[in-house]
């Protein structure tokens, strides 16, 4: 009995991990390729949720989660071309400041357009309710979320590790100068990575909208967790971020199971321990230009 309860928390933690991963993956990729800490990443998550809500009003829930990430990816490309690219080689503090400013502007714009009150987004009827296996209970919607995250994850892995595009991106993370010396212009790849990264964040926002609510400050809420995941996972490693996201999700759930009061602090304790033992994160690689 006790074991089933714990298992529920672990599976639930994995779902949360999948959702954290969608946000953290983009954050890690954009930083790895461009060297900018994108504090506006949460803003794209929020825009994704609002866009999915607005599109969903006309095209239904699935239309929303399909179209919103694409629109946000396009917006991300505009953001990269006009703002982000100027800060790839600048002092990292400047990148922090400008993206932080962008996050504030977006939050206020969302407040102006849609108001401060949270907006309810309905869950599709087919995904409502719980799945019951013996005594094991789980939300149908969250199982859908888990499956979708796994699918997206597989897609991103394939893109980075099995395509020519991925080879250039990975080389660009390690040695952008060598990539340039080989006659490959890194610019378009950085653009594509930003589009991919913010698109994933938008997808996360769209998927989480029916679980919680859509409100202007939602980006700020998730960004803290995403940072913790990236720091625990380490830079330059795809699986590091995946592992960290799952760990953070499961740690939170199991801590709430045993020591409820410590539930929300657990991920910070985890980060602290990992940094003590492995300052580059669990699977972080040594990247010369970042040291």
């Amino acid at each position: 009995m006790e074991f089933v309860f714990l298992l529920e928390q672990i599976v639930n933690g994995l779902v949360l991990g999948g959702y954290y991963l969608l946000v953290a993956m983009g954050l890690a990729l954009i930083f790895s390729v461009g060297g900018v800490v994108n504090l506006a990443h949460g803003a794209f998550y929020a825009i994704g949720a609002y866009a999915a809500y607005a599109i969903g009003e006309h095209a239904g829930f699935f239309g929303g989660i399909l179209v919103s990430p694409i629109l946000v990816a396009l917006l991300g490309m505009a953001f990269e071309r006009t703002i982000l690219r100027r800060f790839y080689d600048a002092d990292p503090i400047q990148g922090l400041l400008v993206t932080f400013g962008c996050a504030m502007i977006v939050e206020q714009l969302l407040r102006i357009v849609w108001g401060a009150a949270p907006i309810p987004v309905a869950m599709p009827q087919a995904l409502k309710g719980a799945v019951l296996l013996g005594d094991f209970l789980f939300s149908r919607y969250r199982l859908f979320l888990l499956a979708l995250c796994a699918l997206v994850l597989a897609g991103v892995w394939w893109l980075l590790h099995r395509t020519a595009f991925g080879r250039v991106v990975r080389a660009g993370i390690e040695r952008p100068d060598m990539v340039a010396a080989l006659g490959i212009h890194i610019g378009p790849y950085r653009l594509a990575v930003v589009a991919l990264g913010v698109g994933l964040a938008a997808l996360a926002g769209a998927l989480f909208a029916p679980i919680a609510t859509v409100h202007p400050a939602m980006g700020e809420e998730i960004l803290t967790t995403a940072f913790v995941v990236v720091v625990i996972g380490g830079l330059g490693s795809f699986w590091g971020v995946v592992l960290a996201a799952a760990l953070v999700g499961v740690t939170r759930g199991t801590t709430i199971h045993f020591v409820p009061a410590a539930g929300e602090a657990a991920m910070y304790v985890l980060m602290f321990l990992v940094l003590l033992l492995r300052p580059r994160g669990l699977l972080g690689e040594r990247i010369g230009r970042f040291e």
């Binding site: 309860f5 639930n12 939300s139 803290t224 940072f227 409820p260």
Partner: protein
Amino acid sequence: MAAKTNARELRSGPTRRGAMLGGAAVMAAGTLGFPAILRARTEALRLGHLTPRTGFLGALGEYAVLGLRMAEEEINAAGGVLGRRLEILSEDSINPDTAATKATRMLERDDVAFLWGEISSASALAIAQVAARAKRLFVAVGPRSDVLRGKNCNRYMFCTDIPNTVMVNAVGRALLRQGMVKGKKYFTVTSDYVFGHDLLRAAKAFFAAHGALHIGDELVATDVTDFSPYLLKARQARPDIVCLNLAGNQVTNFVKQYAEFGLPFPTVGFNLNTADAWAAGPGNLSGTWPTVWYHTLATPGSQAFVAAFTKKYGKPPENHAWITYVVLKILVRAMEETKSTDSEKLIEYFEKGPRFDILKKREAYFRSWDHQLIQEAYPFSVKPADKMKDKWDLMELGPAVPAEDEPLEIIYPSREQNTCVL
């Protein structure tokens, strides 16, 4: 060994990796607060208003400011206060620390006559201390913790919203009628700050007095948006009833996720603000809840207010819009009748117990010994989806508590129960 070397390397000056950590620190510590600062104009009479505009109570504070601006405009259109234009300096209180800092600044530098506002009990406690030190009036408009008008009451603070004990009594009476108390196993989920703890205390007293069993409680941090681990724990406890002592958008997120998981136990709750019910959307909320006011209240005063508000803002007022609106009218009347903005004179005036029209059936008044505004409360329950006229028409307002032939004070903590010493 390798880790040690790495640690030393990482400490050697600012790096991009360091910037990533810095980003995490900024996000963990920072709040994106945007103060809505109004600039001073000469000879206007200024009052300082603080209320949360961001965070888990932000949506409620937004309504409070709408009510505030509407009352302010009406008052100025009618000639202002004491022949002067009324100017309300309203800012986002963000958290107790910031609230105290802003309260100090408003009193010392912005030259406000006194302070009012708030929804968060924790921030209200912080502001109350600042105001008491400066010997200036603070009218706590929205906070509901018993301790504000009990253990932590003070001469300079007045509270206008219904306290937790009243909310528990308002819903409790309905639950007793439905036979949902005696011998029932209650599992509570509680907001982990002064308000939640206070409400849990009131709830436990109610359970103990009426033979309900309290089998478990989960404290939930105010910034939590995902309640799934707590839902799983609630189910594991196998209660008869799940009871919510949550605040702000915690209520919204909890009821949505409760519906998502499809748990079979009925829910009841001892605190609900209409904005959070609206945010949950139809089909997620169920059960009976307490309220201080709802826009379907059928008094001529309320209906006129609702019509004017809806015309101005395109949506009906929420309970925080209503209470902020009526409290500003009360404050203005107090200043007019005492011909003063002096805190001591205003306190003396309120303690005499003048009756105020708050757009309800019965008039309200401040109790002199704990500074609580005594007024009616209501239970309201969720309407079936097919009975809703529009998306705002989510709740069915129950009869006022206490009943018309009962004294208003019977649902409030009595002098014996209340430890307040002014």
